[in-house]
Amino acid sequence: MSEPHEEIARRLTELGRAEAPPDLRGEVMAQVAAEPRRRQRRSPGFGALVRPATRIALVASVVLAAGVGIAHLGGGGSTSSPMVSTGSGVIPAAAESSTDKGPAYAPSTPAKSTTGTQLVGSRDARYGASSVQVRGLVIDRVTARSILGRYFGRPDAHGYIVARVPAEDFRSFGFRLAASALRSDSLSVTLDDRQFVRILLVAARDRRH
């Protein structure tokens, strides 16, 4: 260190030091005393370890449930090849060969779309004696569309319903449904061999033949 630098360092040490204000310590300790009493530091307990795991499990179950739901919604669309349309009056022959397949489901309430249309499968005066009670899990695509309208466009009359019918009811339900569809201008019914019934709602002027 050169001489001028030494002098600078020495003078800084002499001149630069200062004493804290005498009441500083008292004020600090008064504030320390006013602080809420701290607990001793502890190792993380069992609860701290379980809590994140519970949160992860909850999120995973929600994601799984959403995935299953989306898979159900998409299931109707992927079963187009084996279907037999009854909108034009064709009796669903495939339905007869599939009555023993598929799981049975607990009875549910009659299907009803969010557009207010009472669907085939519920008791409706419009269809009289030909209407049937659908027992099984009903996945309502119209409802799905209204919920997911932001992504799929607004719900319209072209929505369709996918119903999963218990195996023991499938044959009789299929015949009755087909008969109802023959008398209806706004309904087209398709059945497949996996106990799925798709009920296509079609506006009268757009009726497909």
Binding site: P4, I8, T13, A20, R25
Partner: protein, 195 residues
């Protein structure tokens, strides 16, 4: 006839927790006790370091009021953060660092809210009237990067390694900045002498 005038002395209350039994303990031992919530141990640390912390804050900010606020807020922050002190640095360095951060915040706040023009004119008039720049004025006029190194090493008395840990700088950078800071201060003193 003279009259005796009784002036009230400023009352400095000594907190009851401070009893001096912790005086002989090391900083690290006191830090551990303070981390466990012992105010007497923390007070001993305050007693040991308040002057050096105040010096650091005063020479970095250049303001008594700001320095006082920095030290007070810094010590309270240190008390709150005691349980998180990991002990991987020296306790003194950790406290210096807290107060230095407060000093930087204070300087930033001052930059955002400049002093009124009238006050600046008044200060300039006083300086030109006295017509002298002493060493501490020159120190206060240094750029912050150089000033803080000079304060840490030459005023507070830290080693270059300790200053490097405080400022997150390698010792070589501390050394070069300290050299340049002293050189600039020497130039200022030469100019003062030449007048």
């Amino acid at each position: 006839m003279t009259q005796a005038i009784a002036l009230p002395l400023p009352r400095v209350a000594r907190p009851s927790a401070y009893d001096g039994r912790v005086r002989n303990q090391s900083d690290e031992a006191l830090g551990r006790r303070a981390a466990g919530g012992d105010p007497a141990a923390f007070e001993e640390l305050v007693v040991r370091y308040q002057d050096r912390l105040y010096t650091l804050a005063l020479r970095v900010t250049g303001s008594d009021a700001d320095a006082r606020d920095c030290v007070q807020e810094g010590l309270i922050s240190a008390w709150r953060a005691m349980p998180r002190f990991r002990g991987d640095a020296r306790f003194s360095t950790w406290m210096y660092r807290i107060v230095l951060r407060k000093a930087y915040d204070s300087i930033d706040r001052r930059r955002r809210t400049p002093e009124p023009v009238e006050e600046l004119h008044a200060v300039a008039a006083v300086v030109s009237e006295a017509d002298r720049i002493d060493l501490l004025d020159a120190l206060a006029a240094l750029e912050l990067d150089f000033r803080v190194v000079a304060v840490a090493c030459d005023v507070v008395g830290m080693s270059m390694e300790e200053a490097g840990r405080l400022l997150d700088l390698p010792p070589g950078t501390v050394k070069s900045r300290l050299h340049r800071a002293r050189a600039r201060l020497a130039e200022s003193l030469d100019r003062e002498r030449a007048r």
